[in-house]
Every structure is written in structure tokens, then in C-alpha cells.
């Protein structure tokens, strides 16, 4: 070959820029209007004075006003205590799951998904019914020891908040820590033993440092959940004495209608929760970078620990945790089949509450009929799925498949809704659309869009993980066999990501159907959802009707949980 005869031409890569831009447009527009605009409105409200000038005086007042300062301190205090209690209660369970094999282990493992799916209002309901002054536990104790008065006064106190948070969150600790624990290379422990380490020294010097990243990640996640917890505080705290930031913002927005103070508080809360989220992501990365190994512990049977000196403790632990998880839910289920004649009268079994749900009769406490609230919830759930699925999938596609400068910024941009609590989002909607010709608060689509913003990060996460799992060579193989990119997507990629998308969509549905916070900020009585109805019924002490609606919600969530468990979606 003679070089002079070869025409060397410079080739241009075919342009795909146009299509990519269209792909970016949908998430960009949606998030700008329904997340970033409300967020900026809060910033604007909290950082300007009445004449529109920039000022830090509202923020400074948050830190100088004794009330808001007490709220901040209490928020941190209850979150720290709840986290400590959840981690301590979760660690033995993590150990049992990581190092033992026993019948029913897969069920216990599956139950650790419950906190991610179970709406907080159900926890509240179960607690009121089970631990209430007139609740199942007190009544049983009174009957057993023939007492005159309720022996346990748990509700409407710090105890109730910590207990409910612990119930809600200790399975998270079990889940995360047992995953890390079972990945620890067993040969390291053997090496330490052969070098003379045993007992506490072995645990603290060798084992604990290895599972510490898992414990810290779990603690960080639980802390975030408790820090932004709303329903538990609102109901079980029982008053201004036990107000957290979330509850205080809610009261500013809906009770005293002071949006300036609410916004200033929201800015402070958002800064804190985003920093905690950042910390959690850092810790989580350390966990996933932990050594991946094939070696596994030889799992002992549960019998070995039951026969050991600690056997009694193990049985006690399993019993307590099981009761703690199951009893409130069982109590709620049981209450739904009971009615009471008069305030202190006897109880009798009944299907009345379910009959009311079916025949569409409303209670005075809620503005719409029971059946309508169920219909509303299913409606918002469906809209949320329909919106969050394309939203999450598109962003996941862009961030996993495309390489471009600033991808990290886009990812952060898309994940920020996880760091903003739903109360703040609701506040943002109220503020953002206050001065516009169309006031969207109280409209059905405001609730649907808020639910979408809250739920889509979970679709994004599910979609990202399935996109990452696809071998890029599968697509190349399809292309080399004559499939156009579009056909390759439909025939190869889509069938492979389908299950992940279903899991994400199901999760989004569960989030929407259990959502109380943003809905409470935005709803008008016409759009009462199941959680709102339950909240209203609890507030008016109609626990039986609340239990019936709660049972319906639990059944829906249980179906969601079964589906997610079957697909095997990693919720954390």
C-alpha cells in the first residue's frame, strides 16, 4: 500500500445531541416546576424581609428565639435517643441473622423491609391502640392483676416517641448490619483466634472495626428518618411540648399561618437534613467498598445458641422484638372488628366498620366517605406511578448510559428531593403558588405532583441499579446482529430492566398511598386520603374506624411488600 494513494479523510461522529437534549428536558422541566421552584420560594421567603430585601434576620431569630431553639434541640435529642435505642435493639438481631441458620429466617429477613413500606400513620395507630392508656396492653395488665387504673402511661410523652421510632427503625439496623456482618471474611476471625484473641478482645479489636461502617451507616439512616419524622411526633408527642422541626413548620404553615417563620425554620432543617444525608451517603460508600469475598461464615443452627448460657437471652430477644413488630399491627387489625357501646362500656365483635367502608358512609370526623378516601388514595398512587416511572427511568438512563461533563451535578440535582422533607415540600407548594393566578394548593394535581417528587427517587434508584447490572456487551451484540438501537432497547434492554422497574413502581405506589405529611399540607377535604382519614379519626378518638381503614392500608402495603420481596429489590 502506498500512502500517497490513500485518501485520509477526517470523519465526523454522527450527531446525537438533539435526541439527548430531548431526553434531558422532561426531568429538567418537571423538577424545576414542582421541586426547585417551591424550594427557591422558601429560600426567598425565609431570606427576605417584607420589602423584599435580603436579610438573615429570620434565620438569626430561629437561633435566638427560645421556642425554635428548643424545637431544634428536641428534634436532635429525640433522634439521637431513638437512633441509639434502634441500633442497640437491632444489633443482637443482626448477629443472629448473620451467623445463624434457622427455619423462618427468610421471613425475619423479609420483615426487616417492613419499615420501608409501612406508612408511619399505621405505626401511630398501632401504638395508640396497643400502648394507649385504654389500650390493649393496659387492659390486659389490668385484667391480669385486677388493677383499678392503667399501670402504663406511655402515650403523649418522650417515651412514646422513642418507643415508636425504635419499633419503626430497629429492623433497618438488623438489615444493614447483618448484611455487612455476613460479608466479614471468617478467616480474619480465625487468624485472630490463632494469634490468641478471644471473647471481648476478639469482638472489640477485630470484629467490631469491620462491622463499624455498617453500624454507622445504619445509625445515620435511622437518624435521618427520626430527624424528619412527622406523624409519630404529631400524634404521640401530643402537644407543643414535644415539637420537632417538622411539626413546628407544619404548625406555622397551617395553624398560625406564619410562612416567614415557617420558611426560616425550613431552611435550617433542610440544611441539617442535607448534611446528614451527605454523611449517610459517605458512610454507605464505605460499606459498599468493603471487601467482596466468596468466603462465608459457617452458619450455626439456632439450636447452638439456644442451648448455650445465652439461650434465655436469645429467646427473650426474639420474643420481645417479635411482639414489638407484630403486636401493634395485630392490635389494629383486631380493633377493626370491635365496637364499644358507650365510653366505658363493654366491647362486642362487629363488621360495622367494614360495612361502612363498603356502603360509603362517612364519619363526622372526616369530610368524605370512607370509600372515597380509599378511592382517592388509589388514584394518587396510580398517578404517582405513572409520573415517577418515566421520570426516574429517564434520569437513571441519562446518568448510567451517558458520559458528559457535570454528570455528578445532575445526579445531585436529581437526588436532592431525598434530602428535603415532605413537610418542607408542602410548604414550598403553598408559598410558591400563593401569588400566582392559579393557586394549585388544594387541587388534586398538587398532591399528585408532590407524591411524585417524594416517590421518584426510589424509581430512580431501582432503575439505576438494573441499568448498571446490564452487560453493555448485550447491547453491542444486539446491534451487531442488525438490531437498531430502538429495537435493541425493546427486545433486549427492556425485558432485562422490567423487574427492577416494577419494583420501583410498586415502591412509588407504596410511598404515595402511605404519604401523610405533604398531603396534610396540601389537601382539601374533597381529596382526603386513607392516611389523612386515619389521622382525623385518631384525633377524634374513633380508634375502631381508624383501625378498619388502617387494616385496609396494611393489606395494600402487605401486597406491595410481597411483590417487592418476590422481585428482591434492595430498598436501602
Amino acid at each position: 500500500m502506498n500512502q500517497a494513494n490513500i485518501e485520509v479523510k477526517h470523519l465526523k461522529t454522527p450527531k446525537t445531541g438533539g435526541k439527548d437534549a430531548a431526553l434531558f428536558l422532561f426531568p429538567l422541566i418537571f423538577l424545576s416546576i414542582f421541586f426547585y421552584f417551591p424550594l427557591v420560594s422558601i429560600l426567598n421567603e425565609g431570606l427576605t424581609n417584607e420589602t423584599g430585601k435580603l436579610t438573615l434576620s429570620h434565620i438569626i431569630r430561629v437561633f435566638s428565639d427560645p421556642y425554635s431553639l428548643r424545637v431544634i434541640l428536641f428534634t436532635v435529642e429525640q433522634a439521637l435517643l431513638s437512633t441509639a435505642a434502634s441500633v442497640l435493639l437491632g444489633l443482637p438481631g443482626a448477629y443472629l441473622l448473620a451467623r445463624h441458620d434457622f427455619r423462618g429466617k427468610s421471613i425475619i429477613k423479609a420483615i426487616t423491609t417492613v419499615p420501608f413500606v409501612l406508612p408511619s400513620i399505621i405505626v401511630v395507630l398501632g401504638f395508640v391502640i396497643f400502648f394507649g392508656n385504654n389500650g390493649v396492653l393496659n387492659r390486659s395488665l389490668m385484667a391480669a392483676f385486677s388493677l383499678e387504673n392503667a399501670p402504663l402511661k406511655i402515650l403523649y410523652s418522650m417515651k412514646a416517641i422513642i418507643l415508636a421510632h425504635t419499633f419503626y427503625n430497629f429492623p433497618i439496623c438488623i438489615r444493614l448490619v447483618s448484611a455487612v456482618w455476613s460479608r466479614v471474611n471468617p478467616n480474619i476471625e480465625k487468624a485472630a483466634q490463632s494469634l490468641g484473641a478471644k471473647g471481648f478482645r476478639l469482638f472489640f479489636r477485630v470484629l467490631l472495626p469491620q462491622i463499624m461502617p455498617g453500624i454507622l451507616a445504619a445509625a445515620a439512616l435511622i437518624f435521618i428518618f427520626c430527624f424528619t419524622s412527622f406523624a409519630v411526633i404529631l400524634v404521640l408527642g401530643g402537644g407543643p411540648k414535644y415539637s420537632t422541626l417538622e411539626v413546628a413548620i407544619y404548625r406555622f404553615a397551617k395553624v398560625s399561618l406564619d410562612l416567614k417563620s415557617g420558611s426560616a425554620l425550613a431552611i435550617v432543617e433542610a440544611c441539617l437534613s442535607i448534611s446528614f444525608m451527605y454523611l449517610y451517603i459517605k458512610l454507605q460508600k464505605r460499606v459498599s467498598f468493603a471487601e467482596e469475598i466468596k468466603l462465608q461464615y459457617e452458619k450455626k443452627s439456632l439450636g447452638t445458641i439456644l442451648r448455650s448460657p445465652y439461650g434465655v437471652l436469645a429467646v427473650l430477644y426474639l420474643f420481645i422484638t417479635f411482639i414489638l413488630i407484630i403486636a401493634p399491627m395485630l392490635a389494629a387489625g383486631g380493633y377493626s372488628f370491635i365496637k364499644r357501646s358507650g365510653w366505658a362500656g363493654g366491647t362486642s365483635p362487629t363488621f360495622e366498620w367494614y360495612r361502612k367502608i363498603i356502603t360509603d358512609i362517612s364519619a363526622s370526623a372526616i369530610a368524605v366517605a370512607y370509600r372515597t378516601s380509599i378511592r382517592n388514595s388509589l388514584f394518587f398512587g396510580s398517578i404517582t406511578v405513572l409520573l415517577s416511572l418515566p421520570l426516574g427511568t429517564t434520569i437513571a438512563y441519562i446518568t448510567t448510559k451517558k458520559r458528559f461533563p457535570g454528570r455528578g451535578i445532575l445526579e445531585a440535582f436529581a437526588m436532592l428531593p431525598l434530602g428535603i422533607s415532605s413537610i418542607i415540600l408542602g410548604l414550598g407548594y403553598i408559598k410558591a403558588y400563593q401569588n400566582l393566578p392559579v393557586d394549585i394548593t388544594g387541587k388534586w394535581y398538587a398532591i399528585a405532583f408532590a407524591h411524585t417528587v417524594i416517590a421518584y427517587p426510589f424509581v430512580l434508584r431501582a432503575a439505576t441499579s438494573v441499568f448498571r447490572k446490564i452487560n453493555p456487551r448485550l447491547l453491542q451484540a444486539a446491534l451487531s446482529l442488525g438490531a437498531t438501537p430502538w429495537k435493541a432497547f425493546w427486545r433486549v434492554e427492556l425485558p432485562l430492566i422490567k423487574s427492577g422497574l416494577i419494583a420501583g413502581a410498586t415502591f412509588a405506589f407504596a410511598i404515595s398511598i402511605g404519604e401523610l405529611n405533604a398531603t396534610l399540607m396540601l389537601y382539601n377535604p374533597e381529596f382526603t386520603t386513607i392516611p389523612i382519614a386515619i389521622y382525623r379519626l385518631i384525633s377524634s378518638y374513633n380508634y375502631f374506624a381508624a383501625a378498619a381503614l388502617g387494616t385496609v392500608l396494611m393489606v395494600i402495603c402487605f401486597l406491595v411488600f410481597l411483590l417487592i420481596d418476590k422481585i428482591g429489590f434492595e430498598v436501602t
Binding site: M1, Q3, I6, E7, V8, K9, H10, L11, T13, P14, N471, R473, L474, Q476, A477, A478, L479, S480, L481, G482, A483, T484, P485, K487, R491, V492, P495, L496
Partner: protein, 348 residues
């Protein structure tokens, strides 16, 4: 020419690809080189996943440089097989045919035919993830061949398999390739595999072609130090041209003077390397092997079928490979002999 790459270049921030080679109809051409030398990138340029900055690609005299992968008619086999996990064996092999719009009966017939070709008859309904590595690789080959591509591209197709299976599948691929007489580009980093399977070998290094030639040429007549090292020649003695005596070129060096059977005319005193394969040397003096050099034994490894003896000469180190066991004492000084026909001169 069935495959022709003309002055293909591709610039990356930290890497530059610059290749040109061609293969005739029915040939197997191997791209051989260490990992990171650009051979897979070159293959992806042929397949159309990477657009070159300059140059031309012709398949069966049809220019495909600007065509997307799905219009190029190339069959591609990956190292990790990349079978579609959501389809069974039939679905995988039929995929390309469906893309071309074949009718059902023809697809059935063609898949059946291919399963016979790869000697996995009645495998249609099998789930691909439950096949062994070797079976998966055969199915991957059948899938690539199904739509009758102009060219078959194989990207390290055997490197995920164990040694025994590798040899078996190697000859199997060669058989199928001969049977169909399909032009094939085969990427590997294993020189033994390359030599065994190819008609033509292109040795690549750092994005460019070091040497292209037949297996024999690459093995026995390396043109660069890199190629010599890569095909397992460890003995390189720096030397100068001292003269010529008919077919024989005379060399002088620190280690003594040598005779090499080398046709080219080289100027006196040109700096060259004398190269000789370890297995062409013997320990001791022999009349027929007129080159001799003395060295001290520094190491001795018994490998079962052979013994590797390391030696230290005056300046260079040297390796001798003897077949069978050999008793050797470290520190002993011995003669190493080799004949002029087995040597080669490397000019750099």
C-alpha cells in the same frame, strides 16, 4: 480483500490508535498483543461501536466506515459471551434472523442447522444461563454466524475458559471457520493461541501495529524487540555486522562471534541483535551447531516435559530450554551451542 483497514486512527486523551491491515477471503487474522494495546478498540472500530477519526474500513470491498453497527453485517463474539439472558438458546440464535425479517420456518431451519454446526443439537429450549462456559461460547458463535455476516469478529473468545476446554474450542472454532470459509478477525493476548489458529498475525503494541505476517514469520522472524519478547524469545545478544559469507552473515559481539543464516545485505558495523529461541539451544559442544557461547548456570527449573536453564554470559543473560529432565549444577560453567539456521538478526 475481504477485510481492509486503511490508515485508521483514533485519538483518546491518553491513547492513540493507528492501524492498517487486511485479510483475504476465508483467512483467520489474529490481533495479538498485551492487554491495553488497542486490539479490542480496533475490533470495535471494525464492528462500528467506535468511530475512527480518519481512515476507511472495507468489508468485502464495501465501504462501511460511516455505517452504524447494525448495517455492517459483522458477526461478533465476546469474551463473556453476552448471550441474552431473557431468551433461550433458540431465541439467541434467531435474534439476528428476526432482525432481518426472516420467516418462522426459515428461522427454525437455520437455527437447527447452526446447532448441528456447533455440535449442540436439540439445545433449542435450553436456558442460556444454565449452559456450561464452553456451551455458551458455542451458542455465541452460532448466534454471530446465523445472519450470514461478511466477517466474524472474535474478542478473546476463549479467555474465560479453562486450559483444556480452551484447546478443544480453539480447534472447534477453526473447524467451523474452515467449513464456512468465513473471513475472521480474532483478538487474543495468548501467543500460542494466535499461532495455532491464524493464517495471519498482526502484533499490536501501544495502539500501533508492530508486525504483520504469517504465524511462521512472527514466531521465527520477529522484526522488533517487542515482537521477539512477546512470542517468547528471551535471548537477545547485542552485536555488530562483521561480514558476509554467501548465505551466512557474520556477527561480532562481547560474547564472541556468531554465524547467522540471513539473506539481507547489511552494512558492516551495523548495530543489531542476535536472537535465538531457547528451545533451539543445547548444552555442550556439537559439530553441527557451529555457534558456541560460554556461560555460568544461575538457575534450573524442571517443568516436567522440559527443563529451563538460566545462564549468565559475559554481559547478557541467556535461557536454554531442554526437553526432558537434566541434572544441572548452579555455578557450573558450560558451553551453549546453536546452529546458524536457527538464529535471526533483529535490526533496530
Amino acid at each position: 480483500m475481504s477485510v481492509q483497514l486503511e490508515y485508521i486512527t483514533k485519538r483518546y486523551p491518553d491513547f492513540f490508535i493507528d492501524v492498517a491491515f487486511s485479510a483475504d477471503k476465508g483467512e483467520i487474522l489474529t490481533l495479538l498483543g498485551p492487554s491495553g494495546c488497542g486490539k479490542t478498540t480496533t475490533l470495535h472500530i471494525i464492528a462500528g461501536f467506535i468511530m475512527p477519526d480518519t481512515g476507511k474500513i472495507l468489508l468485502n470491498n464495501r465501504e462501511v466506515t460511516m455505517l452504524p453497527p447494525y448495517s455492517r453485517k459483522v458477526g461478533l463474539v465476546f469474551q463473556d459471551y453476552a448471550l441474552f439472558p431473557n431468551m433461550n438458546v433458540f431465541g439467541n440464535i434467531a435474534f439476528g434472523l428476526r432482525m432481518q425479517g426472516w420467516n418462522k420456518n426459515d428461522i427454525k431451519k437455520r437455527v437447527h442447522e447452526l446447532l448441528h454446526l456447533i455440535r449442540l443439537p436439540k439445545y433449542e429450549e435450553r436456558i442460556v444461563t444454565e449452559l456450561s462456559g464452553g456451551e455458551q461460547q458455542r451458542v455465541a458463535v452460532a448466534r454471530a454466524l446465523a445472519p450470514n455476516p461478511d466477517i466474524l469478529l472474535l474478542d478473546e473468545p476463549l479467555s474465560a475458559l479453562d486450559a483444556l476446554l480452551r484447546k478443544e474450542l480453539r480447534s472447534e472454532i477453526k473447524r467451523i471457520q474452515r467449513e464456512l470459509n468465513i473471513t475472521t478477525v480474532y483478538v487474543t493476548h495468548d501467543q500460542e493461541e494466535a499461532l495455532a489458529i491464524s493464517d495471519r498475525v498482526v502484533v499490536m503494541n501501544a495502539g500501533h501495529v508492530e508486525q504483520a505476517g504469517t504465524s511462521f514469520e512472527i514466531y521465527n522472524r520477529p522484526k522488533t524487540q517487542f515482537v521477539a519478547h512477546f512470542v517468547g524469545i528471551t535471548n537477545m545478544i547485542p552485536a555488530q555486522i562483521a561480514g558476509k559469507d554467501g548465505e551466512i552473515t557474520l556477527l561480532k559481539s562481547q560474547e564472541g562471534s556468531f554465524k547467522v543464516k540471513f539473506d539481507e545485505q547489511l552494512e558492516i558495523n551495523t548495530e543489531v541483535f542476535l536472537v535465538i529461541r531457547p528451545e533451539k539451544c543445547t548444552i555442550g559442544r556439537f559439530e553441527a551447531k557451529s555457534n558456541t557461547v560460554r556461560g555460568e548456570i544461575t538457575g534450573c527449573e524442571y517443568l516436567g516435559d522440559s527443563t529451563i536453564i538460566s545462564l549468565k554470559m559475559k554481559e547478557s543473560t541467556f535461557t536454554v530450554k531442554l526437553f526432558g529432565p537434566m541434572a544441572c549444577r548452579i555455578g557450573e560453567t558450560v558451553d551453549v551451542s546453536f546452529s546458524p539456521e536457527d538464529c535471526w538478526i533483529l535490526i533496530e
